[in-house]
């Protein structure tokens, strides 16, 4: 092995092997390979650039600090996407709890605060998409993706934006293969209906 491996010729598993031997350049190569797809997935999941940056950073820090526990018989891409997707789903669940609870936010300590947070349901219904929405996701199709259920969103993004196989998506999301297919078909149906007015 030379001091400067030709990274493009190495598989993910080989780069991970070099990272485990303590080579910082190997860590940076893994980041270079996956920073865009991971960030794109997270940005489209949470629809907030700054938050997506934070979650991407959290994903990579978690994955790279636990590189010893990565099992090479699985794809590295599946592993990092699984961590990223879990981060996004956790965040969306927390946000859902904070904004959608009929009893108000679980963090609210006074009845007034609970009432104030509970009122956010109305605000959300008036504006289905978050009011603070990055310009980059401003197209009709991006907006339609943003309205999908998070599970459908993960599936459709991994399948048609990241080009992952159904089997890999099932592995990433810990879902049966049939469920993944169903989610993707439903997501495509919803998107088609959401974009139908553009054809008229």
């Amino acid at each position: 092995m030379t001091d400067t491996p030709q990274w493009a010729r190495l598989t993910d598993q080989e780069v991970v092997f070099l990272a485990r031997s303590g080579r910082e350049t190997a860590y940076r190569e893994l980041i270079r390979r996956y920073e865009r797809p991971v960030f794109a997935l997270l940005f489209r999941m949470v629809r907030d650039r700054e938050l997506a940056e934070d979650l991407s950073q959290e994903t990579f820090i978690k994955a790279l600090n636990a590189i010893e526990s990565y099992r090479p018989e699985f794809k590295f891409s599946s592993w990092i996407f699984k961590i990223a997707n879990n981060a996004a789903i956790d965040h969306l669940r927390r946000r859902e709890l904070d904004t959608l609870s009929l009893d108000g936010s679980p963090h609210a300590e006074t009845p007034e605060a609970m009432q104030a947070t509970a009122l956010q349901i109305g605000a959300r219904q008036e504006s289905p998409l978050d009011t603070v929405e990055a310009k980059e996701l401003g197209s009709e199709i991006e907006a339609a993706i943003g309205r999908l259920r998070p599970e459908y969103r993960s599936c459709i993004l991994l399948r048609h934006v990241e080009g992952r196989a159904y089997e890999e998506i099932a592995e990433i999301l810990d879902l049966p293969l049939g469920t993944v297919k169903t989610y993707i078909h439903r997501a495509r149906n919803e998107l088609r209906h959401a974009l139908a007015h553009l054809k008229e």
Binding site: T11, Q13, G22, E35, F39, R44, Q57, I67, K75, L195
Partner: protein, 202 residues
């Protein structure tokens, strides 16, 4: 079911059509069934829109920010020594055992050197006797091998190869070629795979 057309395409078959892996007999259904064709075209248009979505990248120096929070493992050689070192200095007793072993090792090495320096004549006579025995055993072995060779039925034919310089040269050339072929085959067998494994790539 549509009479004459066969069953409408299922969702899985539409996926296969989008991936260009639909069986030809089912793909022909699309030429005959307007409903399925329209559905398939709409799916393809949507998928194309999804595929051509804007590429998104995190802000510059993302890798630097991540690396600030990543702790690199120590190189393997250091890591493999660390647990042994930790065990060695874990308790007073283990330190005492390690120290005793070190003293024993150094003491025996020093004793060996001192004895050698004081008994050089004895060592020389033992060395001479051992060398003579090895030489004698070697000579007996050579004689045995030679006599066995001479008794072989192919010995005369092999010996005739060395009757003329031309034959000697030919035999040497053949041997060299066989040797080179062997080396080449061995290198091919021992070469590390360089091609990427398709299923393991990103």
């Amino acid at each position: 079911m549509t009479p004459g057309f066969g069953l409408h395409l299922s969702a899985d078959e539409l996926d296969a059509w989008l991936d260009a892996t639909l069986a030809p007999d089912r793909a022909r259904h699309l030429d005959l069934c307007t409903e399925c064709r329209e559905r398939a075209e709409a799916e393809r248009e949507l998928v194309q829109q999804l595929v051509s979505l804007q590429l998104l990248s995190p802000a510059a120096e993302f890798a630097d920010r991540v690396m600030q929070h990543v702790s690199l493992p120590a190189p393997y050689a250091v890591r493999s020594i660390q647990p042994a070192r930790r065990r060695l200095f874990a308790t007073r007793r283990s330190v005492a055992v390690a120290a005793a072993l070190a003293v024993l090792l150094v003491g025996s090495m020093a004793g060996s050197v001192v004895w050698t320096l004081g008994h050089q004549a004895t060592l020389a006579s033992i060395g001479g006797w051992v060398l003579a025995q090895i030489g004698q055993a070697g000579w007996i072995a050579v004689q045995g091998v030679a006599s066995n060779l001479i008794e072989q039925p192919w010995y005369e034919a092999a010996r005739s190869l060395f009757d003329s310089p031309g034959r000697v040269a030919g035999a040497a050339l053949l041997s060299a070629l066989a040797y080179l072929a062997g080396v080449f085959a061995l290198r091919r067998l021992l070469a590390l795979p360089t091609q990427q494994v398709a299923h393991a790539s990103a």
